[in-house]
Amino acid sequence: MELFQYPYMQRALIGALVIGLAAPALGIYLVQRRLALIGDGVGHVALTGVGAGLLLNRSPVLVAVIAATIGAIAIEIVRARGRTSGDLALALLFYGGIAGGVLLVGLSDATSANLNAYLFGSLTTISPADLTTIAVLGAAILVTMIGLRPALFAVSHDEEYARVSGLPVRTLNLLIAVATAVTVTIAMRAVGVLLISALMVVPVATAQQVTRGFRSTMAAAMALGLFAAGSGVWVAATADTAPGASVVLVAIASFLVVAVAGAVWRAVRRRTTPTAAPTPEPHEVVLS
């Protein structure tokens, strides 16, 4: 616990908690539209932005936000067109993004330790200015995702119905794409581009095993994200492990615990409350 007296550890913890709260609040919409891995793809593209930033001596995070936003909008356009070649276009974007990132980082004066910081996260090197960026953007994501929940739920749940309801479907879709890019870039410092999707998706996957509604799933996923971030940083500090990987492993461990506990509970309940014999379908024909 003494470690948390150091300001850099406090910043690491606060940054992780903000991201742990914001990532699942966005991720639930991505999971609902079967785009669970989009965060991964946007992360790959963001890496090209990091490389470009390091090469041009600009803020890598700032350039990454721009690159990730362009990438996310491109993915959204491909998705909205609904062409069958969509997944191939996404693959090109993903691998082009990570290859471009590695290439550009290599061209710059940055060391491989620098690249690793963006690939797998580097919570302990968050500066006070970084923390302000994370807090402001994280709060903006949270306010948008919670405040627009009815509309974002409608668009993610049944896009055609949303269009007939007169909702600004294209704007809402682009909003989700841009929010994905922003979340990826701020989470990049915490868990790294290769592990971002885990924080968006795993708490949602854990929550939806026990919840009944969308709103309760969102609340539970955010609580789980907060728990994973907090305990992951604590584990990393006490056991001296990589913080990003620790946060993700805590999230996955929670998933496994809930999955096993849920299965056991259902099995016990089935044994104690016998279900009524299934009523057979009425016969379709009469055989004489």
């Binding site: 609902q32 539209r33 009815p150 509309a151 119905y161 269009r163 509604g213």
Partner: protein
């Protein structure tokens, strides 16, 4: 009560160059309950999707409430009931949450739900007989109950026009009766209905006019035609709503 609610003039729709609707003209006036009938692949679902702007028309015009479709913005006046609920990515949603989406057309994106929204959702759930299931995840409902959830979502917006795509396909008898009752109440309050159907069943007494679509054209517009062939048998139970090899019958005149 004779103002036109939907007007389609010489509408043409094609998918990838293959024409689905060839030359459709159709007018629905306020208070009517119009059923679009036709075999699978006749273009009847495409017709209502074109009316709602979900598929673009390549020629002709669509007018909703005296406004060209392109400039129509009063979507709260229309309640749309799609054929089925999308599976989604597996995130649970309660019946009430799905039905509450129906209020967005009236409320807008930014305003949080108020008392009027909640009571409209309650009323819609009651109208389709699902008030007791409001807190249950929709995925645990039967197909017919899910269909009723979609109808409640459309009713929650308190529309003047209901557009329904095969509301009774593959739906159990109890849900069909519940649906027919909800529709009667809606029409009794002055609502207009355009629905696509394969088989009318318990809806038949509610329908005021039938439009038969055959190979992309309107083959009949008027009284509900009597079933022909094996469909006419009194105990005919339509158990193949999505069969593509429709045998000779009502639609093959």
């Amino acid at each position: 009560m004779t103002s036109p609610v939907i007007t389609v003039e010489h509408g043409v729709v094609g998918y990838d160059g293959r024409p689905v609707l060839r030359d459709i003209s159709l007018t629905v006036t306020a208070g009517e309950v119009v059923a679009i009938l036709g075999a699978n692949g006749s273009g009847k679902s495409t017709l209502i999707r074109a009316v709602l702007g979900l598929v673009p028309i390549s020629a002709g015009s669509v007018t909703l409430f005296d406004r060209p479709l392109r400039r129509f913005r009063q979507w709260a006046r229309i309640g749309y009931v799609p054929q089925r609920l999308g599976a989604g990515g597996g995130v649970p949603a309660t019946v009430r949450e799905v039905v509450a989406s129906g209020r967005l057309a009236r409320r807008g994106v930014l305003r949080p739900p108020g008392r009027a929204d909640r009571s409209a959702v309650d009323a819609a759930l009651g109208a389709v007989g699902l008030a007791a299931r409001a807190g249950d995840p929709v995925s645990t409902l039967s197909g017919g109950q899910q269909q009723r959830t979609l109808i409640a979502r459309a009713l929650a917006g308190q529309p003047e026009l209901l557009v329904l795509d095969e509301p009774t396909a593959g739906v159990d008898a109890a849900s069909q009766e519940a649906f027919a009752g909800a529709l009667r109440d809606f029409v009794g309050d002055g609502g207009t209905v355009l629905l696509v159907a394969h088989e009318l069943g318990p809806l038949r007494p509610v329908i005021s006019r039938a439009v038969v679509v055959h190979e992309g054209r309107i083959a009949h517009d008027g009284a509900v035609p009597d079933p022909a062939g094996h469909h006419a048998e009194p105990d005919h139970d339509h158990v193949h709503p999505h069969c593509y090899d429709e045998p000779a019958g009502l639609w093959s005149n």
